[in-house]
């Protein structure tokens, strides 16, 4: 890829200004109109007229009680916020403007409502990508190999809290938390142990790095580790999160970098990985964790798309053409309880992203128009009470994810409210996906719900609501600004509290918890026990590395990162050089902190 030095930055600024002033939806509307888009209605005026007349006649013969149920407010579902009340029945009247080719079309073709590939799951089955990570890399390596030998087709590595928060296992802040919630990684040596005897050129590896800053460090470690294990960067396939929202909002930490620094590192990652690791998905805008923290399904997508737009504009300002980077952007959605809305908004997301990528960012290759996404079934909707019921919940979520045509899926384990999953719970999650895929025929036909008056109406409504929220974010100046103003933190705090209140008041129903309440006090299940002494084992390894490496060389490499940061250069290549010399994650984060300083997010009670 060539860097285009003379890109028209003025027109980019003008575009950004017009998005902020008019809203994305207005600019989109203008550009679509300028393109001479003609719409052809699927339903004729005469047919609609007759349907309306018959509909009214039908209503008139219904008794009062039946009619009342038409206007009953749609009940509130966990994780949703009544934005989209539903009627009792949907007819062509609700989708009277429907234009088949412009709104739905064919799979693999614009607007991609029906999926990004023409043959969808017949061509490429959904990637079964379980989350795994606990203890030391040696501990996790065993579970990775267990999952792969039972049919997992991808792997999703989660890191322990000190690794995510960028402290070494020996740091005082890491005390008591090494290997909990994920795997501990301190240096490239750990990365090598994590993937020992795992075929890295055929397996697609997702590193759930969350933040841009740890993405830079951990991906650099992964790349150098793979290199030392004999792989070429160009053969590596995988994904990182690299999401500024995760670092600035979803995270809470004793020490956070400022949003502008996070955003800069975010784009550095995109740029470096794009240029050097061609099959690598350098960003996965993580709607999932944001939603689990506390926003609804609309905000989840609106924030992710605003985020992606802002980063794309910055990449273009740095001189790249949209087609040079959009094809490796991916998204990650949570799948919650509102079954049909979940499916509809995944369809809507593909349609919106296509329009944004093509008409706002001006990309011209069809790969750039794909909204590719991984989904994970909701964790917050799983209960501690009667935990086996969670298998049913997750299965419904997984079904929605598949009907929404996700590219890859992780089904949350039934023991989610207890601990990290046991091996048995992990296996059930795999099996749920395999059963849907192999036993039911559900994946045989593309977008089977297309044309349903209800689902098409809901898809349209989801699209409108998402665009409305994107406009709102841009009116604040874009997502980074909105975060600095505390908008997203406030939203999460309010949402979580409302959800909780509604559960208490039984407005939101949870079976076994506040409805059909469980009589059992005790819900004994096998609970995962963390492997012993992870902290001690990490400490011994780390101390050995520190004593054997060339400490002066490491210090020099770290100094070079700081110099590069001061000069505004892309930091990734400097981090690669430092991890190669066995610099630790904590040392690199320390360098970032020294250069960029710390920021306190606006969390108000």
């Amino acid at each position: 890829m060539q860097k285009h030095e003379n890109h028209e930055n003025k027109s980019l600024e003008a575009l950004k200004d017009s998005i902020i002033q008019k809203g994305v939806s207005k600019v989109l509307e203008e550009r679509l109109a300028a393109g001479g888009l003609k719409r052809q209605k699927l339903f004729s005026e005469e047919a609609l007229k007759e349907i309306k007349q018959k509909y009214e006649e039908w209503m008139n013969i219904l008794d009062e009680k039946t009619r009342q149920s038409f206007s009953r407010p749609f009940y509130t579902i966990l994780g949703s916020k009544e934005r989209l009340p539903r009627s009792l029945i949907y007819t062509p009247l609700d989708v009277s403007e429907l234009d088949y080719l412009n709104d739905i079309g064919f799979s693999g073709h614009p607007p991609f409502t029906r999926g990004i590939h023409p043959n969808m799951y017949r061509g490429k089955q959904i990637t079964i990508r379980p989350i795994v990570g606990f203890g030391t890399p040696e501990d996790t390596n065993k579970r990775i190999r267990f999952l792969l030998s039972h049919g997992a087709t991808g792997i999703n590595i989660v890191f322990d809290l000190p690794t995510i928060q960028e402290y070494d296992s020996t740091h005082p802040y890491a005390k008591g938390q090494v290997g909990l919630c994920g795997v501990a990684i301190d240096t490239i040596e750990d990365m090598k142990l994590l993937f020992e005897n795992v075929q890295l050129d055929t397996l697609s590896v997702s590193l759930t790095t969350h933040y841009p800053s740890n993405t830079m460090i951990l991906t650099a470690m992964f790349l150098v580790a793979a290199e030392e294990m004999g792989y070429e960067w160009r053969d590596l396939r995988g994904t990182v999160q690299n999401d500024p929202v995760m670092e600035a909002v979803v995270r809470t930490s004793p020490e956070s970098l400022p949003p502008t620094a996070i955003f800069k590192i975010h784009v550095d990652n995109m740029e470096f990985l794009r240029l050097n690791v061609p099959k690598w998905n350098f960003v996965t805008y993580n709607g999932y964790n944001l939603r689990e923290a506390g926003v609804d399904e609309i905000t989840e997508i609106a924030v992710a798309f605003s985020n992606a737009l802002e980063a794309s504009l910055e990449m273009m300002r740095r001189g790249y053409q949209p087609d040079e980077f959009l094809d490796r952007m991916a998204f990650f959605w949570g799948i919650g309880n509102d079954f049909f809305l979940e499916i509809a908004r995944m369809r809507a997301a593909r349609r919106i992203w296509y329009k944004l990528a093509r008409y706002i960012l001006g990309s011209s290759s069809s790969r750039s128009w794909w909204c590719r996404f991984h989904v994970q079934t909701s964790g917050i909707s799983l209960t501690r009470v009667e935990p086996l019921n969670n298998i049913a919940r997750s299965t419904l979520h997984a079904l929605a994810g598949i009907l929404g045509h996700a590219q890859s899926l992780h089904v949350s384990c039934y023991d989610e409210a207890y601990s990290v999953p046991t091996e048995a719970a992990h296996l059930i999650s795999l099996r749920i996906q395999q059963i849907i895929q192999e036993e039911t025929g559900i994946t045989e036909v593309v977008d089977p719900l297309a044309g349903s008056f209800y689902v098409e109406w809901l898809t349209n409504r989801a699209e409108e609501e998402i665009l409305k929220e994107i406009d709102l974010i841009w009116r604040m100046g874009g997502l980074t600004k909105a975060i600095e103003m505390g908008w997203l933190h406030r939203k999460i705090a309010e949402f979580s509290y409302t959800d909780y209140k509604q559960i208490q008041e039984k407005i939101i129903k949870i079976v076994g918890v506040n409805y059909y309440e469980s009589e059992k006090e005790d819900h004994q299940i096998d609970v995962f026990r963390y492997p012993e002494n992870a902290e001690e084992r990490q400490r011994i390894k780390l101390e050995k590395i520190r004593s054997e490496r060339d400490n002066e060389l490491v210090a020099d490499k770290i100094e070079k990162i700081k110099e590069a940061a001061k000069d505004g250069k892309n930091l990734f290549p400097y981090v690669v050089e430092a991890v190669r010399e066995r610099a630790t994650e904590g040392e690199l984060f320390e360098a970032f902190k020294q250069v960029y300083g710390l920021w306190t997010p606006l969390v108000r009670i």
Partner: protein, 145 residues
């Protein structure tokens, strides 16, 4: 719930809420903070803190209730440290210590044994939390009516 009625006595109660260690799941902590604030208590949210910082804040702020949130598995390792430090500083009997989050059943008992007054799981109700705190405050003679 009517905060002005039965919870009148909670009005002068100061609560310090912290995320224990590096755990990033802040939804529960912020929700409980809201609940206690609405019940009339004076709530201070400390954010992510290590045991030493928590105890330092307890000394500075002198709350009657210390609430810790842990969903990352560090409830025992760091949770124990908090109470050890509280005992060292003689802050143990003069405050109510509450911990909540993702906590396996066996550990619930361990935490109570260590000295936590209350342990709450994910499905704890508003009533349970408020009444639990109120009862413990009154048991420890910290509730002035």
């Amino acid at each position: 719930m009517d905060a002005s009625g039965e919870n009148l006595s909670l009005k002068r109660i100061k609560v310090l809420i912290a995320k224990l260690g590096l755990d990033t799941h802040w939804r529960g902590a912020i929700t409980v903070a809201h609940i206690l604030k609405n019940a009339g208590m004076d709530v201070l949210y400390l954010g992510n803190s290590m045991p030493e910082d928590i105890i330092e804040a307890v000394i500075d702020e002198d709350p009657q209730v210390v609430g810790l949130s842990s969903l990352g598995g560090a409830h025992l390792s760091l949770g124990e440290k908090v109470l050890e430090l509280a005992k060292t500083h003689n802050l143990h009997n003069t405050k109510v210590y509450v911990i909540g989050g993702v906590i396996p059943p066996d550990d619930e008992q361990k935490l109570l044994k260590i000295g936590y007054d209350l342990v709450f799981g994910a499905n704890a109700t508003e009533q349970e939390i408020i009444n639990g705190i109120k009862n413990k405050l009154s048991e420890k003679g910290l509730l002035t009516i």
